[in-house]
């Protein structure tokens, strides 16, 4: 399964990718914002990890856009963001995000959320 990591911060993309690699996930595509993610999205993508605040298109808009597509209706979307106000979390959930991690995060939390969404442990 290919993971799509979406974040406008190059540092955060690397940290998320390093965390994924640490839990055994290495098939990863990067995108710098929601618009870039939509351009890179396709049948090969099996999981989306996205930030919220990004230029051009944010994470919530990306989730809505993916849910509006036939091939994006059921794709697991995990939001990793600094936003942690209750209303924001509810907005994310209503936009189609399946689970939510607040920054700064640990690889353990990342693995737990991915495993829960995929249904089985994705890696050792």
């Amino acid at each position: 399964m290919k993971f799509l990591v979406v974040d406008d911060s190059a540092t955060m993309r690397r940290i998320v990718i390093n965390s994924l690699q640490r839990i055994g996930i290495s098939d990863i595509v990067e995108a710098a914002d929601g618009a870039d993610a939509l351009a890179k999205f396709g049948p090969q993508i099996g999981f989306v990890i996205t930030d919220w605040n990004m230029p051009n298109m944010g994470g919530v808009e990306l989730a809505r856009a993916l849910r509006a597509r036939d091939d994006g209706k059921t794709i697991p979307i995990l939001m990793v963001t600094a936003r942690s106000v209750r209303e924001d979390i509810i907005t994310a959930m209503e936009s189609g995000v399946n689970n939510y991690i607040v920054k700064p995060f640990t690889p353990q939390v990342l693995k737990e959320k991915i495993d829960a969404l995929v249904g089985t442990p994705v890696a050792s």
Partner: protein, 217 residues
Amino acid sequence: MTTRVQQVLYDSEATLRLVDSELGELGAVDTAKHLGSALGVLPMILEQANKEIVQILESLRKNKTQLQSAAVERLQHTHSKLEEVNTTTESAATGILDSLDKAQSILDTLDADDTEKTGKSAELRDAMRNELFSITEALQFQDITSQQIRYAANVLVELEEKLLSVLHLIDVTGLDDARAALHGTGRGTYDPNATTKDRDVRQHVADEIFESDAPKE
């Protein structure tokens, strides 16, 4: 400066009241009797009023220049300094991540050489890997602080916009460049509440919300 402006304003008000009073007299009293003398005084009064208005405008222009240099220019300088902090920390974080990747790669090479992967050295390599990764994890601070800085920079931009509006009321000259510079200011995206504090508590809130909405089996 404020006292001087107030004094000039009081003087102008007094002059204008005098004009008003003279004009009132022209209409209310026997015009034939007073018209000649009142009209004779009027140009002098108007000239005095004009001088005072010019003085007020000069004073306001001076204030505008002082406001522009003391406030707007300093705000723009502070804004650019904040942007510099963002760029520098991002560049430093990238450099640290590069070094961490190299260190991990060295550990992988050491692992490959030690085919048995037993004993103290294997344990030490694992411990080293964990330590290196904890540095990677800690670098998330850069994303959070960069959002906090963007928030502060955005507050400055809003302040500049308000000051420019005030300056525009006084004098429109020379403000176009300032407005153009302001519009060219990159604001970026940010969360005004971004913080590194209370991670577990905030994660718990998110978990509660998502669990409460999870489909019941």
